[in-house]
Amino acid sequence: MRTRAATTWLLVLSTALAAHAAEPSIPFEEYTLPNGLRVILSEDHRAPQVAVSVWYHVGAANQRPGRSGFAHLFEHMMFSGSQHVPQPDQVLAAIGAQTNGSTNFDRTNYFETVPAVQLPTALWLESDRMGFLLPTLDQKKLETQRDVVSNEFRQSYENRPYGRAFLTLCDTLYPKPHPYFHCVIGSVEEIQAASLEDLRGFFREFYRPSNATLALVGDFDPKVARELVTRYFGPLPTAPVPPKPEVPQPKLDRVVERTISDPLARIPQLQMVWNGVKPFAPEEAAGDILSVVLGGTKTSRLYRRLVLEKQLATNVFANNASLGLGGYFQVVATAREGHTVAELRKEVEAVLEELRRDGPTDEEVTRAKRNVVGGLVRSLERVSGKAEQLNTYAMLTGDPGYLSKDIARYQAVTRTQVHEAAKTLLPPDRVLVLDTEPGGTAPGAQR
């Protein structure tokens, strides 16, 4: 166990945005239970509430071929009841908790913000589904959640304009049998094929104390919190940390062009996507700054050129998505009525070529750093935001208190590094070009 010296994050913001950041951090203490559960405690007494967040280091990355969408389906099962807490939603509702869970490419989290006096109930519930999910898992629960997740697929992808483009992005950058194939949501067929035995095996493999972190942020007495954590999580059995997934990142070796016919799109959209990096890779910070310079704000290069000057687009953005098995860097531009993807592409390529040739200006880099650091620090205004940040750093860097180093990482990015990132991360000859075109039935024409 170690306790970090605590400047409050109040200081973080002011120092972070000055050029001379000192050593800001979120105050916290951490320790590990004998069974391997890592516990992070951070007091915040502004209001009588506690944010409880459990991260399991399992996501789409851990799925086997033919099991797309499985990690996310499993997340749903964690709300279906465990041996001693058969109706977790009812329990949480009765104490007025705000709760949800989420799955991404590399991790799954379960979180609730509860009244401070109800911390025991939150820990009772989270420990029960960590240790006692299987005894009550049955076919009926599985069938219901397979349907719910299939509905989610339709609502969020199939039945939403441009929803299909993201699936094509995953399928092209991460072809079968890569576990990112079909993104996190997966395919309806594969979700429907999941069996009870698959669920049981997945739980035994990944849902272990040693593969999880528990963060508590809020209005608690750390002595009481420690006793409660020991009481509820201490008896859970020990199992070794599961091996990390190791899958080579497929690399684009040429320009790949795909056209998507989207019946719910009326306006063409361009996406240009490059192979990206892993979280905290050496190029990540410069890549993030690059994404802001390119398309993060109203003064960004792409916004100025495509939206303000040429008026070809209504909207542009750039995103440096870093993922555990290798991420992607995307530029997305949605046309203005009457303009085409070909026009957008020509202009995006011109902007990229200038950036590769001349690099960004000092002013652009400074502004982008402020944007990134400001966003990082503002996310900590909420106890739930702090809990997620502590867990993020714990998983990705091993140090929950990495915030100050993370800010320093961005502050240290130079103009030269961003220029270099533009050349190495966005090669013109190894890019996926997605062209979403309005497709299917002509709107309203079918009677």
């Binding site: 991404n104 719910v148 199939e158 035994r204 997934p245 209504t314 502004r367 402020r370």
Partner: protein
């Protein structure tokens, strides 16, 4: 940046207005010993000894000599100040034939002032690490500034300049117009947007500005002239029609002078008398359909006007709604999602604006289950409207509302906006501070009575946006006459004369 896939759609707050690589190797399954006997886990633990209750922030009120109301709340927890300047006229200020004007104004306001270009406004805000967002609502235009406390002065300068001295340069106006026209095209194939527009028409009527499609129609947006923007601004952007709400880390002795220096010379002027048409009278129930053959889900909505925010039963209604469909565990979502598996989530809400309340059920369901789902919603609501609310449901609803407050009022952004909302709705500024007491006093009988009086589905119009082939059987449900609005909603017929502006 990572994309989460949440297990459940986010439910809106109850009260605040609302090839090649190898697959991963299979790790060995550890032969872990079964957990020890844990009978003690069967009982839910008792809560900890009580902590001090949450006390919701209450605004301190000032009025500047030009009648500009100022709402203040000091909070030194973080070095951030949020300033929201609210204009108390929004879409309700759209003249006939100019639907979308207030939204247009909101879109173009920060695109340049008399002394700053669009790009300069954006660059100066970014240099301060400040955010300014402008949103147009049915009853207001809100300019929301979030800045660091040590940049409050220059950030306030920018806010005041954007609010008071917009330039509406032709180039910027035309650029924004093109963006709006593009987004209106996309709205015509977006299930949620199509349903929202039909709901608005049913709630407020085709002649009321609030009954128009959100953002206007292509025809009305093309008809908006620069002079209309100038006139809207000149008419409604007046201190006597505005509020300044400030929450954060400011110096109490300095804040009023800072605000006065920037907003004190703003001249009041009386507003023109409102000539808004009345809302439509309760008509027999209809089922409005929009065919979206491309869809694989159907977007369902039931919506009606209900009690206004200041009605004595408004809190009981919000509580009744929580148990019916406001929470993940409430009846509608439980039945349609957890029992039937037909949706990712189906919820109801009660929201308020300055003239009325709106009760609404919304959800996206499997297209082949469109009719079945409506039937189920009808059954759940019909049962609920008999007044069979249970004590357990009531307790959950109350806790949900009560315990969401610390989180809902956690940030300065939320507090500044909430002050404005309370004021616009005509609720007392200590509304949330007194909420625990008022909520505690609500009895089951009272909430059941309000549910019976207001949530009976038999008179609530229905909107269905989805593939027509899955709408067969709708008429057989006998909910009311089925009205097909596909052509109008999807922009296939010329607008009715009421929507065409007179030549000027």
């Amino acid at each position: 940046m990572r994309t989460p896939f949440r297990r459940a759609p986010l439910v809106s707050l109850l009260l605040l207005a609302c090839a090649g690589p190898q697959p991963a190797p299979t790790p060995p399954v550890a032969a872990a010993a079964p957990p020890p006997a844990d009978a003690w886990r069967d009982a839910e633990p008792a809560p900890l000894p009580s902590a001090p209750p949450f006390s919701a922030p209450v605004a301190v009120v000032h009025t500047l000599p030009n009648r500009l109301g100022v709402l203040l709340r000091e909070n030194h927890a973080v070095p951030v100040v949020v300033v929201e300047l609210a204009i108390k006229t929004g879409v309700d200020g759209d003249p006939p034939g100019k639907a979308g004007l207030a939204d247009f104004l909101g879109g173009v306001l920060d695109e340049g002032t008399k002394s700053r270009t669009s790009d300069q406004v954006a660059a100066q805000l970014e240099d301060l690490a400040a955010f300014l967002s402008i949103s147009t609502t049915l009853d207001g235009v809100r300019l929301h500034l979030n800045c660091l406390s040590d940049t409050l002065v220059p950030a306030l300068d920018l806010l005041a300049d954007v609010a008071l001295n917009p330039a509406f340069r032709t180039g910027d106006v035309e650029r924004v117009r093109g963006q709006i026209l593009t987004s209106l095209q996309q709205r015509r194939v977006s299930p949620g947007a199509l349903a929202g527009d039909e709901v608005a028409r049913l709630l407020y009527g085709p002649k009321h500005p609030w009954g128009q499609p959100a953002g206007g129609t292509p025809e009305s947006v093309r008809a908006i002239r620069r002079a209309d923007l100038v006139r809207f601004h000149d008419t409604y952007f007046r201190p006597n029609n505005a509020l300044l709400s400030v929450s954060g880390d400011f110096e109490p002795s300095r804040i009023l002078p800072l605000l006065s220096e920037r907003f004190g010379a703003w001249r009041p002027r009386s507003l023109p008398p409102s000539r808004l048409p009345g809302f439509p009278k309760d008509a027999p129930r209809t089922v409005v359909t929009v065919d979206l053959p491309e869809g694989t889900q159907s977007q369902l909505a039931l919506a009606t006007r209900t009690l206004p925010a200041t009605h004595p039963d408004a809190l009981a209604l919000s509580t009744a709604n929580a148990a019916l469909g406001g929470l993940f565990t409430s009846r509608l979502n439980h039945q349609l999602r957890e029992v039937k598996g037909w949706t990712y989530g189906l919820f109801s809400s009660v929201a308020f604006n300055k003239r009325t309340g709106v009760f609404q059920v919304r959800g996206s369901v499997q297209a082949p289950r469109t009719v079945d789902s409506l039937k189920e919603v009808e059954a759940v609501m019909g049962q609920y409207a008999t007044g069979d609310l249970t004590d357990r449901e009531l307790a959950q609803a109350k806790e949900a509302i009560l315990q969401s407050l610390p989180s809902a009022l956690e940030t300065n952004d939320a507090v500044a906006s909430t002050f404005v909302t309370l004021s616009v709705l005509g609720r007392p500024l200590d509304y949330y501070a007194t909420l625990p007491r008022r909520l505690g006093a609500l009895t089951r009988d009272e909430v059941a009575r309000v549910a019976k009086a207001n949530l009976e589905p038999g008179r609530i119009p229905v909107v269905v946006v989805g593939p027509r082939k899955d709408q067969e059987g709708l008429a057989a449900l006998k909910l009311g006459p089925v009205v097909d609005r596909t052509a109008e909603a999807r922009g296939q017929v010329p607008p009715s004369p009421a929507q065409v502006p007179a030549a000027r």
